[in-house]
């Protein structure tokens, strides 16, 4: 029994040490344009999803979004998000520049609810290219962006038309 306990405790010291050495020696690849292993993605993606669901659980939208605020959110999307997340009405083009790649929202949509999208835009996602936009947008802008992104894969052609920047 004494040996079993010693054996049980040993990996709690050894494994973190092995992980530290692995990273400190530079064995982890940093390149965005080289795909990481499947198990790494399989562990990290659900970790982000469940963190968003847990942390944003207490938020609720200030009300049902009006068509006007969805369009206003769409205009913000065109200005601030489209560069990485894709343009509504255009063919799919995967983001090969970043890892994790920026999801091409007009094509894949999102599984997150409006409060969760609001939370992500406001705080960003650590260790991705998604930065925090809290300092740049007002609350109502964040919510209308969230309402728009919730619907970004099911826009009508008229809606797509109405979010285009005005030509002067």
């Amino acid at each position: 029994m004494k040996n079993f306990t010693a054996g049980f405790v040993a990996p709690f010291i050894l494994l973190p040490l092995v992980v530290l050495v692995y990273f400190a020696l530079g064995m982890a690849d940093t390149r965005c344009d080289v795909k990481p292993t499947a198990w790494e993605s399989a562990v990290m993606k659900p970790a982000v999803r469940s963190a968003v669901k847990r942390k944003a659980a207490n938020l609720s939208a200030p009300g049902t979004a009006t068509e006007d605020s969805i369009i206003a959110g769409g205009k913000l999307y065109v200005m601030g998000c489209m560069g990485c997340h894709g343009e509504p009405g255009k063919p799919f083009a995967e983001d090969h520049a970043n890892y994790p790649p920026a999801p091409q929202l007009p094509h894949v949509g999102t599984q997150y609810s409006e409060p969760e999208i609001y939370w992500i835009i406001k705080h960003g996602i650590r260790m991705t290219a998604m930065s925090a936009y809290g300092p740049f947008y007002k609350e109502d802008q964040l919510w209308s962006l969230a309402a728009f992104i919730r619907r970004v894969d099911t826009l009508t052609p008229v809606e797509i038309q109405s979010i285009q920047p005005q030509k002067h």
Binding site: M1, N3, F4, T5, A6, G7, F8, V9, A10, P11, F12, L15, F23, A24, L25, G26, M27, A28, D29, T30, R31, C32, D33, V34, P36, V43, M44, A47, V48, R49, S50, A51, K53, R54, K55, M79, G80, G83, C84, H96, A97, N98, Y99, P100, K122, H123, G124, I125, R126, M127, T128, A129, M130, S131, A132, Y133, G134, P135, F136, K138
Partner: protein, 183 residues
């Protein structure tokens, strides 16, 4: 000895399971606007530096004292990098909203050599805001850019003068235009 190994195997499994549970039940803070512990930050920083040093090829750098090289690199930098990495004498507010925060190159000079800078710009840095620029630059452009970034905190005044005023704003920026947001 046999019971030690049994204990070791069970301990390993339990540890992996605990780590997995911690991750998959959403207990990790993922907010980019809240810094993790200094311990985590410096660990990630060390891992990234070590990986770049290990993996980046050593290339012959351009003659980086050539002022034409610096000016050419500076123009590329102001167009494509300054939005997140800051300008000489001016930090980028946008770059501060990422985690890991975007290095403000003019304030905190890079520890990488030119070949490593080229490698980072070309391939990006995984799990950060640094995208891979890939074929968007020629090798010569990459060389100029790296020479400029290497010396950004100690540029000769006439190089600074030559790259200012910056060329018109890039076609499309990932950052929301703050002047528009305020309207």
């Amino acid at each position: 000895m046999k019971t030690f190994l049994e204990g070791f195997a069970v301990g390993t499994l339990v540890l992996i399971l605990l780590a997995f549970l911690f991750l998959e039940t959403g207990r990790v803070d993922i907010r980019a606007d809240v810094a993790p512990s200094p311990w985590t930050s410096s660990f990630l920083d060390i891992a990234t530096h070590a990986s770049v040093r290990r993996n980046a090829p050593s290339l012959q750098s351009l003659s980086s004292n050539d002022e034409q090289v610096l000016v050419a690199g500076g123009k590329l930098y102001l167009n494509d990098c300054a939005g997140c990495h800051g300008e000489p004498g001016k930090r980028s507010q946008f770059g501060a909203t990422f985690y890991p925060p975007v290095p403000q190159l003019a304030q905190t000079p890079t520890r990488y050599n030119e070949a490593q800078i080229v490698w980072i710009a070309k391939h990006g840095v995984r799990r950060s805001g640094m995208g891979a620029e890939g074929n968007s630059y020629s090798d010569i452009d990459y060389g100029c850019l790296a020479a400029f970034i290497r010396q950004i905190s100690q540029l000769p005044p006439h190089v600074l003068a030559a790259i200012n005023p910056p060329p018109p704003a890039p076609v499309q920026s990932a950052s929301p235009d703050q002047s528009d947001v305020k309207k």
